[in-house]
Symmetry: C2
DNA sequence: AAGTGGTCTAGACCACCGA
DNA sequence: CGGTGGTCTAGACCACTTT
């Protein structure tokens, strides 16, 4: 099939063996950049793992791990007896564990926020179940309108347990919810999402500047921190002409 | 924090060291079952990797890999200096690389299919780009109505390169597209998906037995095989009251 | 100080593929 | 047959968290 395998060794001349950045990560991130930039072309075959290890002065497991990272991202394909190839076809960014705010920032749009409401309410049955708290216990409810480049994009309704009720409106106007949580030492580790669609209610249509009864893209999410405790339950709706969810799936 | 770590050793008494099933997979799948069934409760702390390895007669890397599988699935959380814990909160199934047909089968619904059209057409610009073929080259276009339990759920429009034009209508009525491709030795490895929403066109509304102009959940997908070649480009729409996409995201 | 997971090494044997 | 990735071993050192 493909004739000579490629390995741009010059990209890996200055690996840092003393710093805190893992070797496999240094290799995989540089390799990823080389692929995304086209420096290594689509369909190219990589050298085998052992020779790469020899050239880089790394053990095979370390090289394997670096390659595996990119296989998991859908950039490379490995086949036993054949070798490792760069996937053909453009690669889209997977849905990551970030907030809409960061999504927009990353794509060079100017995110804006308006806090619509910010109040402590007793948890109803749904909220209590999602957040694993008692029915009737106090939770913080926030509702925000998120926009970009002057257009409203989404209405975000979030519920947080009592311990986060001191998040202020000013905080929320300036930063994304996940950024604020991170700044308080809370790391979101796992999230369960459910994506669907429905008609816009009248107030939602007005806020999003779209037709009443028109289609909205919806996302429900429960997010958990490192220790597995529920941190946030959210119920969001997006203007489908301005937002969509993109994923790369990789079969194992 | 959590007092005594747990390890239900009795679940791992008969590991098969000779068969084709990897040891790490045997361990991780049994562990997964024990967690999903509640045999190991939510929030429980697991024993450390080295003692597990000793008890099972496995090396630490093998045990680590088994655990890592479940971390990636969002069932376990590892923290340095702390240990490994079962995540609290229910875990939903991630979006997997399967077709709608298999999704429905797995959830014990009775999938039905009606092939609406099945024809060879020249590729327009969009299709040609997605499938990496020349504009104007022949591609197979199929349009199917998928239902479950008597209700129409989705309209599936798919485009496949020339080499698959011999897929017949009878095949497609009986099985899912991905099943048919697998039977021909084609494995889908990577897919890029984009999920959004829009209004239903009149013909779609009639087919799906829903309101004209009502909301539809949409998904566009390009799927690639082992070698990275584009195998299928699809444009689907779903009744949002009967279908949604569920995902578990895990931060790395 | 003790215990945990995170990384890394230097081998080994096997299954699968192509020539 | 030789070359490839897939799995597995038995160690090692380190960073981080709790006691």
């Amino acid at each position: 099939m493909s004739a000579t395998p490629v390995w741009p060794e010059e990209l890996f001349t200055d690996l840092d063996r003393t710093g805190p950045v893992p070797l496999y990560y240094q290799v995989s991130s540089r390799l990823e950049q080389a692929i995304r930039s086209g420096r290594i072309p689509t369909g190219a075959r990589l050298e085998n793992e052992i020779s790469i290890g020899e050239k880089l002065g790394l053990s095979r497991p370390t090289v394997r791990r670096a390659i595996q990272e990119l296989v998991d991202k859908g950039l490379l394909v490995r086949r036993r007896g054949i070798g490792t190839q760069v996937v053909q076809g453009q690669v889209s960014r997977p849905v990551e564990l970030t907030s809409l705010f960061e999504d927009l920032e990353r794509t060079h749009h100017e995110p804006s926020t308006r806090v619509l409401s910010h109040e402590v309410i007793p948890a109803d049955e749904t909220i209590a179940e999602k957040l694993s708290v008692a029915v009737g216990s106090d939770v913080l409810r926030i509702r925000r309108l998120r926009g970009t480049d002057g257009s409203p994009v989404a209405i975000l309704e979030n519920y947080l347990p009592l311990e986060y009720t001191d998040l202020t409106e000013e905080d929320l106007n300036a930063k994304g919810l996940y950024q604020l949580l991170r700044a308080r030492g809370v790391t979101i580790r796992i999230a369960n999402q459910s994506i669907s669609a429905r008609r816009a209610h009248a107030d939602e249509a007005d806020l999003l500047d779209t037709a009443r009864g028109g289609p909205l893209l919806t996302m429900e999410r429960v997010a958990f921190d490192d220790s597995g405790k529920a941190v946030e339950f959210g119920h969001h709706c997006y203007r489908p002409d301005l937002y969509r969810f993109e994923t790369t799936l990789v079969a194992k």
